[in-house]
């Protein structure tokens, strides 16, 4: 059994890039719309996370690669969250 699945085609890469461009445009528009102020922070964080996940999954092929690579990267990503919290808590900034 193959360890990795087939990678996407160039056509799919272009579609993904278009989606990323649209999400970026929405991100840039959000701070300039006063009506969206109450949801600005969560909306920007979610859109940023979506872009992050799309690039990692499709451009870095993590969606198609082995579980080992996925685990190694996710340890770094999720390891940085407690690090983040500890730094901010240490200086009473959270």
């Amino acid at each position: 059994m193959s360890e990795t699945a087939a990678h996407p085609t160039p056509k799919l890469y272009w579609i993904i890039a278009l989606i990323l461009a649209v999400v970026t445009a929405i991100e840039v528009a959000i701070p300039s719309i006063p009506a969206l102020d109450p949801i600005k922070v969560p909306a920007l964080l979610i859109l940023g996370a979506v872009k992050f996940a799309i690039v990692v999954a499709f451009f870095m092929h993590l969606k198609y690669d082995t579980a080992l690579f996925r685990s190694l990267f996710l340890i770094g990503v999720f390891g940085s969250i407690p690090l983040f919290v500890v730094v901010l808590l240490t200086f009473n900034s959270l």
Binding site: F59, L74, L83, F84, S93
Partner: protein
């Protein structure tokens, strides 16, 4: 009676090559995982000092439309990078070189934009030593810029190797590894752009 078959050297070489491929790729993912912690701590430091401007300039200096354009350029460089990798996988070196050069060009445009932005900020009075805000901002974005610069150099090396015919199948993994590094630089900027620029204005 069981028959003994001599090992096939070609098969062994292939298996060895596969192991090297996997080991190098694993090492790259370990490196990228550790880089997440590195940039995570830098972003946390910036958030810690985001309001400590010591009376100097702060986030009001940020030119979001300009940085949005830079972000878009870097995002599109991820597309050209993945297309370069795809072309080399299809053994289309000529197209691969075009996309590699495109990626290096977009990376250079991003760097030029960052140098312009830093110059503007220094003229407005925000330097590395103005305040903790300035120090943490320049450290974070400067380290990211250094990563982009190293990426551009690696892309240029790949381009030259390909031109001189030394980027053959055995080195195909190099394009993949450089690609992983480049996409990582892009995702770090996705976080920096959101947390440092968009959320502070």
């Amino acid at each position: 009676m069981a028959t003994h078959t001599a090992p096939d050297p070609a098969l062994d070489a292939h298996a060895g090559g596969h192991d090297v491929h996997k080991t190098r790729k694993t090492a790259m993912w370990v490196f990228l995982g550790s880089e997440c912690l590195f940039f995570g701590s830098m972003i946390a430091t910036f958030l810690l000092y985001r309001n400590t401007t010591e009376g100097g300039p702060g986030a009001e200096l940020f030119n979001v439309p300009f940085t949005s354009a830079s972000s878009f350029v870097l995002l599109m460089s991820s597309l050209t990078m993945v297309l370069a990798h795809n072309a080399f996988e299809r053994k289309d070196s000529r197209q691969g070189r075009v996309w590699l050069a495109g990626t290096a060009l977009l990376g250079s445009i991003f760097l030029a934009g960052q140098i312009f932005e830093f110059t503007e900020f220094v003229h407005e009075g925000l330097t590395l030593s103005t305040s903790p805000f300035g120090s943490s901002f320049y450290m974070l974005t400067g380290f990211h810029g250094a990563h982009v610069a190293i990426g551009v150099m690696m892309l240029a090396a790949m381009f030259i190797l390909s031109l001189t015919g030394r980027l053959n199948d055995e080195h195909g993994l190099n394009v993949e590894l450089v690609g992983l590094y480049w996409h990582f630089v892009d995702i770090v900027w996705i976080v920096i752009f959101t947390v440092i620029y968009l959320l502070q204005v």
